[in-house]
């Protein structure tokens, strides 16, 4: 069943495959960003209650969703890395963690900037905010663990276990606003019901979520390729690649 996947387990093949996706992801990200941000920030109608301040949703929600999306992809990779011991999976974990950490930070920062004018507070220790902060610490832990070992096989295993264990935090973040009473409001779009946001405001939001997704894909694949080259630098295929590039330039 999975035979078709096997050729990609070769480092060179996964390097080439990742390279094919990067330009597409980048183009889609730029287009979605350009349309989504201008539409959301300039043309979408203002909210009846929050006025123009609500527009920060176009950064806050995509980065928050993708902070969890990046974590899920990292955890899946960690799982594959631990069970099947494919080293590229560990490299993906190392590649995506800093990107996810930055998304989490953006979500927390824009959340604080939104909370101050609307709620009246930069920060409240409610369940949603606290669990998202824990997500940031999990990312930082994964990054730190991966860099703490000089033996990268060990590093991948340690970082993988931490990222897998941290998955428990994802449902907690998502359901925190339902399980406990919080200052943060409930889910607007990530629920099975109809989104509780007007269609004119929803489309640019979806575009921005798509933009963040492609951006995450592009940046993590570039980082993945770099990590792959760094760890395989003494292998013949990397040497060949370097020779080809230097010849092309010289």
């Amino acid at each position: 069943m999975w035979k078709w996947l096997h050729p990609y387990a070769k480092p060179e093949a996964s390097y080439q495959l990742a390279g094919k996706f990067v330009p597409w992801f980048s183009v889609f990200a730029v287009v979605c960003f350009a349309v989504g941000l201008v539409w959301g920030l300039a043309f979408a109608p203002a909210d009846y209650q929050q006025g123009d301040s609500f527009r920060i949703i176009y950064i806050h929600v995509p980065s928050a969703i993708l902070s969890m999306g990046a974590y899920s992809s990292m955890a899946v990779a960690a799982f594959i890395g631990l069970v099947w011991q494919i080293k590229q999976a560990d490299m993906y974990v190392a590649a995506v963690a800093p990107v996810g950490a930055v998304f989490t930070f953006i979500a927390l920062f824009t959340g604080a900037a939104w909370g101050k004018p609307m709620w009246g507070a930069w920060w409240v220790w409610d369940a949603r905010l606290t669990s998202e902060l824990i997500l940031l610490f999990l990312y930082l832990g994964v990054i730190a663990l991966y860099n703490a070992f000089s033996d990268k096989t060990m590093a991948g295993r340690a970082a993988g276990i931490l990222s897998l264990v941290g998955v428990i935090n994802l449902p907690i973040i998502h359901y925190s606003v339902e399980w406990w009473n919080t200052l943060h409001q409930g889910a607007t779009i990530t629920k099975f019901d109809k989104p509780s946001i007007d269609t004119d405001m929803l489309w640019p939001l979806l575009l921005n979520i798509a933009a963040f997704t492609f951006f995450l894909g592009a940046v993590s694949l570039v980082r993945f390729r770099t990590e792959l080259l760094r760890r395989e630098q003494r292998r013949p295929w990397v040497q060949q690649l370097i020779n080809r590039h230097s010849q092309a330039r010289g």
Binding site: A121, A127, I168, W179, S196
Partner: protein, 164 residues
């Protein structure tokens, strides 16, 4: 799947499920402490199965909807008082001195932090506004007036203030 992979799979799944279960139990046990605030009903009738009531003098947060028509402002200072309620029908009076957030209005959800001065009065030093997850333009909001927003109903006795 070869036996070594199977073994690793079992170990990994056991770790994740075990930790998941223990954290689940931990959160369940801490349930009441993770809640950010008391609702007016919890304050009046007690919280949880044991109906634990906070003690007078305790510092706490109270969250509910501002009852329309109960906001009283002082003419000479920033002092303001208003009543909070929720779906359960409990009513709590909040006293506050300071500037209220922009979103503060009658019918709005708010969270106040302060000291419980008697069974159903909180003297707050911080009032935060809570908004819901609905976003819509002004025109839509006007056209939809009376949509499924929560509208509390009260008996006369409740509005007169509940004597304990």
């Amino acid at each position: 799947m070869n036996p070594r992979r199977k073994k690793r799979l079992t170990i990994v799944l056991a770790i994740v499920l075990g930790l998941g279960a223990s954290i689940g139990l931990l959160l369940f046990a801490l349930q009441q402490n993770i809640d950010l605030f008391y609702t007016p009903t919890e304050l009046v009738k007690g919280k949880g199965k044991q109906e634990v009531k906070p003690e007078v003098g305790q510092r706490l947060r109270i969250g509910g909807l501002v009852l329309p028509g109960t906001v009283e402002r002082s003419q000479t200072s920033l002092q303001v008082s208003f009543k909070l309620s929720d779906a359960g029908g409990g009513i709590v009076t909040v006293l506050y001195e300071g500037i209220l957030p922009d979103l503060f209005r009658e019918g709005q959800g708010i969270v106040a932090q302060g000291e419980l001065v008697d069974a159903n009065t909180v003297s707050a030093f911080e009032v935060l506004a809570k908004h819901d997850e609905e976003y819509m333009p002004q025109e839509v909001a006007e056209a939809l007036e009376g949509m499924e927003h929560f509208k509390p109903e009260y008996t006369e006795a409740q509005l007169q203030g509940s004597g304990h």
